[in-house]
């Protein structure tokens, strides 16, 4: 019985480790091995091509520059939004707060295309503004998470003894791990974005990002037969991994410390006084740029802005929505189901991994970032190699179930891709929990599983919900993995991409709006149903 209990206690971690091996180590390892085993055996020749030309070096600098500026934008919008809606008496904060995640829903390429329809939109600065706004939700979610986890008594004591300035600095230092993690996520997504910088080539763009360069190399792989051609996009991803490692090194210098105690008190809600209404300008600007503009451009599309046969009208809008639902109703339900599955897998893997990362092996934080450091396409092709290998085929034949051709493999690939959001967020949250309760539980003979279920899970509920919302939104809009894995074929974003490409902006705009409503309804419903207990931005 004790043995069974031991096994049961270790099961979540064993499953997480198994997932890590199957869905991260093996796919990326398979791709890596391609680069070092050529037709003539072991070789490191392709690695000599990394950043070998001036073009590559210019592109990597452009990527880093774009990432830094976009993160600055994300801090202004994301941090400002979270601060005002979480820690102050801003009017309408309860509604505005969860909306902070909405800019993440619409793929930025669609926003760029729509914006370009009615205003000149090009160049580095516009690209940085657009991407910074699109990825500001990472900073918003993480900042709000930090603000809710900080013990308000420390802040109040600092305020009484040393005044407002030092108290605010103390608070900022306390939530720095979360802010930095949010910035890291935003930075990683910006530097791996190839579609938006490429689209903004319009008229004389003189800069190109490294991600554009890596993406272009896939043509070489698809058409080439030489080993150098085939591994070209894989070795080209190495600088992105190095940049990620450096960013991560900086981010993990700021680790959260234990703050929650039994007599924990949340931060006091500070009164904005005469600034209460003027302060609305920041969330309003953020939501206008991140949600209002996309909704506006999608509405224009849906009303027929891209054609000149008839004037834009509500009638066209109605037709567009009808067309979108007829074409994509099944895809929408498939996408939402896939997003739920991804969220479930991610949480099942992240919770045990984060507990171990926080308490025993901090290196897990570093390893978890690997899947998001490499281009999504690379991870997806690694998945094809592992889950469609002859060995995997033999397993499918034996069990009578073909995982590769199912939604399951896409859910696993998405969960692997979004692993850092789960592990980093939750490991920071676990670090904020005092060890005393766990120690007491373990000393009294409780298993690690019981400790996790009784102590960690309830305390982590808000952080888990933050991760769930992020994973759900990200899974609903993921494209690069979906285009490689066959079962990712039925997602809304893939269809949206097709519709818009071939002049179907009217139905595309309607579909993007439907997706926005469907996906943001989860965090908004949470607030309505649970009140203050679970907040998507906490």
């Amino acid at each position: 019985m004790d043995r069974f209990r031991d096994v049961l206690a270790r099961l979540p971690l064993a499953l997480a480790v198994g997932f890590g091996v199957l869905c991260v180590v093996l796919p990326l390892g398979a791709m890596l091995s391609e680069t070092v085993y050529g037709p003539d055996g072991f070789t490191l020749e392709p690695w000599a091509t990394i950043l070998a030309t001036d073009v590559d070096r210019q592109q990597i600098l452009a990527s880093v520059g774009l990432g830094v500026v976009a993160v600055a934008v994300a801090i202004v919008f994301g941090f400002g939004h979270a601060w005002l809606t979480t820690a102050t008496d801003l009017p309408g904060a309860r509604v505005l707060g969860p909306l902070g995640i909405a800019p993440l829903v619409i793929p930025p390429i669609l926003v760029a295309m729509g914006f370009a329809d009615f205003a000149p939109a090009s160049g580095f600065w516009f690209c940085a503004l657009l991407l910074g706004t699109s990825y500001a939700p990472f900073v918003a979610v993480m900042t709000a998470r930090g603000l809710r986890a900080v013990d308000g008594r420390g802040y109040e004591a600092a305020m009484l003894s040393r005044g407002r300035g030092p108290a605010e600095r103390l608070l900022l230092r306390s939530i720095l791990p979360e802010i930095v993690a949010g910035c890291l996520f935003a930075f990683l997504f910006v530097i791996s974005e190839h579609g938006v910088p490429e689209f903004l080539t319009v008229k004389g763009k003189a800069w190109h990002t490294y991600a554009e360069g890596v993406f272009g190399r896939w043509t070489r792989r698809a058409t080439g037969v030489a080993h150098e051609d085939i591994v070209s996009p894989i070795v080209a991803a190495v600088p992105l991994i190095v940049i990620t490692a450096l960013a991560l090194f900086v981010a993990l210098r700021f680790r959260a410390h234990s703050a929650l105690r039994s007599d924990f008190r949340p931060l006091p809600v500070r009164a904005l006084g005469v600034w209460r209404f003027p302060a609305l300008v920041l969330p309003a600007t953020y939501l206008t740029c991140g949600v209002g503009v996309p909704i506006f451009v999608m509405l224009r599309w849906a009303m027929g802005s891209t054609q000149t046969r008839e004037p834009m009208s509500v009638d066209i809008l109605r037709r567009s929505f009808r067309g979108a639902i007829e074409q994509s109703g099944d895809d929408l339900s498939y996408t939402l189901l896939l997003a739920l599955l991804t969220t479930a897998i991610l949480l099942a893997v992240s919770i045990p991994a984060a507990r171990v990362a926080a308490r025993r092996f901090p290196a897990i934080d570093h390893l978890a970032v690997l899947p998001v450091a490499v281009p999504a396409v690379l991870l997806a092709i690694g998945f094809v190699k592992v889950f469609n290998s002859p060995a995997a085929g033999a397993v499918y034949d034996a069990v009578g179930y073909d995982l590769y051709d199912s939604m399951g493999v896409v859910g696993c690939a998405y969960a692997a891709r979004f692993l850092p959001f789960g592990v980093l967020t939750l490991s920071q949250a676990v670090r904020r929990l005092p060890r005393s309760a766990e120690d007491a539980a373990l000393l009294s003979g409780r298993s690690s599983l019981a400790c996790g279920l009784r102590i960690h899970l309830p305390a982590l509920a808000p952080a888990i919900w933050s991760v769930a919302c992020l994973a759900f939104v990200l899974a609903a809009r993921e494209l690069d993995v979906a285009v490689v894995l066959p079962a990712g074929n039925d997602t809304v974003v893939r269809r949206l991409s097709n519709i818009v490409h071939f002049g179907g902006e009217d139905a595309g705009g309607a579909l993007a709006l439907i997706l926005l409503v469907a996906v943001t309804s989860l965090p908004i419903l949470t607030v309505l149903l649970t009140g203050r207990k679970l907040r998507p931005l906490s």
């Binding site: 319009v202 360069g213 058409t223 097709n498 071939f502 002049g503």
Partner: protein
């Protein structure tokens, strides 16, 4: 709540495992190909597991999937909206020869000698012209790809960067049609004259946009036709039709049987359907206005889009282009800021 969970579980299981009779990977836009696939299902009573590509993924999607799945092929039939990548798959040994009887009337120029692929329903690489900006007098319109080098059009003409898609294939074919030296000189001459854009769709949009300075651009007939359907003031020029000229590049759809695919018999039936006159006719009548390669099949309605016998196509060797596509892609990448 329990009912909801049960429903979700049922849907999940249903989505997880469905038996299929043949698997098709389609690079042609879903909007045009999906209805045809459903028609095949109705006529043949075979269930098709169909995977569509996205324009955004360019060649990364289906071609990469077929290459990556080579140890355990999942795809039976590959329907590509262009030719070079299909030929490339054949050169990698990933295709199975099949001479479809349905393609007997297709001219031999559009079929592989070894039966690896069959070409049909083509797009032409044309000049899309804004008729408001250039006026109704067609003699003032550009007529050749050489016009992209003419200083009088500086900043007023656009081409998609030749890093992927049909523009890459076109530039690669021009490299062999013009010869290395002449092609290099042409590239140098157009370098600063042309506005380089992201895609053929973008060149079409910029040309159609009355507020843009772009007066004409190189694009595909299907993109041109979309602009026309949307009511934009555009016209089409089939370039290089003068005596001794290069001719207009024509890029057909291609269909091929994947080597080792799980359903070879059904695959052949599906290829017979896709390469049929019926499908060519439907594609010509669709929004993409594909040009039938059989002169017996009725072409697109629009008078701007010429029939196969009404213009001189450029002669190009798909095998030569496919063999050199990786190297040329790397060269173009260096020049136009993309791949290497």
């Amino acid at each position: 709540m329990k009912k909801l969970l049960l429903l979700a579980l049922t849907s999940l299981l249903a989505a997880c495992g469905q038996s299929t009779d043949v698997t098709l990977y389609v690079a042609l836009d879903q909007e045009h190909s999906e209805a045809l696939v459903r028609r095949f299902e109705d006529e043949s009573v075979l269930r098709v597991n169909v995977r569509f590509d996205t324009e955004a993924s360019k060649t990364v999607g289906l071609v990469s999937a077929i290459v990556s799945e080579k140890d355990r092929p999942r795809c039976d039939v590959f329907w590509n909206n262009e030719l070079a990548h299909t030929v490339s798959l054949g050169q990698k040994g990933l295709l199975e020869p099949y001479a479809s009887p349905a393609a007997a009337a297709i001219p031999s120029a559009f079929k592989a000698e070894d039966g690896m692929w069959t070409g049909f329903a083509a797009r032409a690489r044309i000049l899309i012209v804004n008729t408001d900006k250039l006026g109704a007098d067609r003699s003032a319109w550009p007529t050749s790809i050489e016009d992209f080098a003419d200083p009088k059009w500086k900043g007023r003409c656009a081409i998609a960067r030749p890093l992927t898609g049909t523009t890459l294939t076109h530039f690669a074919a021009l490299r062999f049609a013009l010869g290395e030296e002449r092609f290099g000189a042409w590239l140098d001459a157009i370098q600063d004259n042309v506005v380089w854009l992201q895609s053929n769709g973008a060149t079409m949009r910029q040309t159609a946009d009355p507020d843009s300075e772009i007066a004409f651009a190189l694009t595909d007939t299907d993109d041109f036709h979309v602009a026309l359907l949307k009511g934009h003031a555009v016209g089409a020029v089939f370039p290089d039709q003068a005596e001794g000229g290069l001719g207009t590049m024509l890029i057909p759809n291609s269909v091929a049987v994947v080597r080792g695919g799980p359903h070879p018999e059904a695959a052949r039936k599906l290829v017979d359907f896709i390469a049929s006159e019926q499908v060519e006719g439907l594609l010509a009548a669709s929004k993409s206005a594909q040009i039938p390669v059989r002169s017996s099949v009725k072409g697109p309605e629009s008078a701007w889009i010429l029939g196969i016998d009404e213009f001189r196509p450029m002669v190009w060797d798909a095998g030569e282009v496919a063999s050199n596509l990786a190297e040329l892609s790397a060269q173009f990448g260096q020049r136009y800021g993309g791949s290497r």
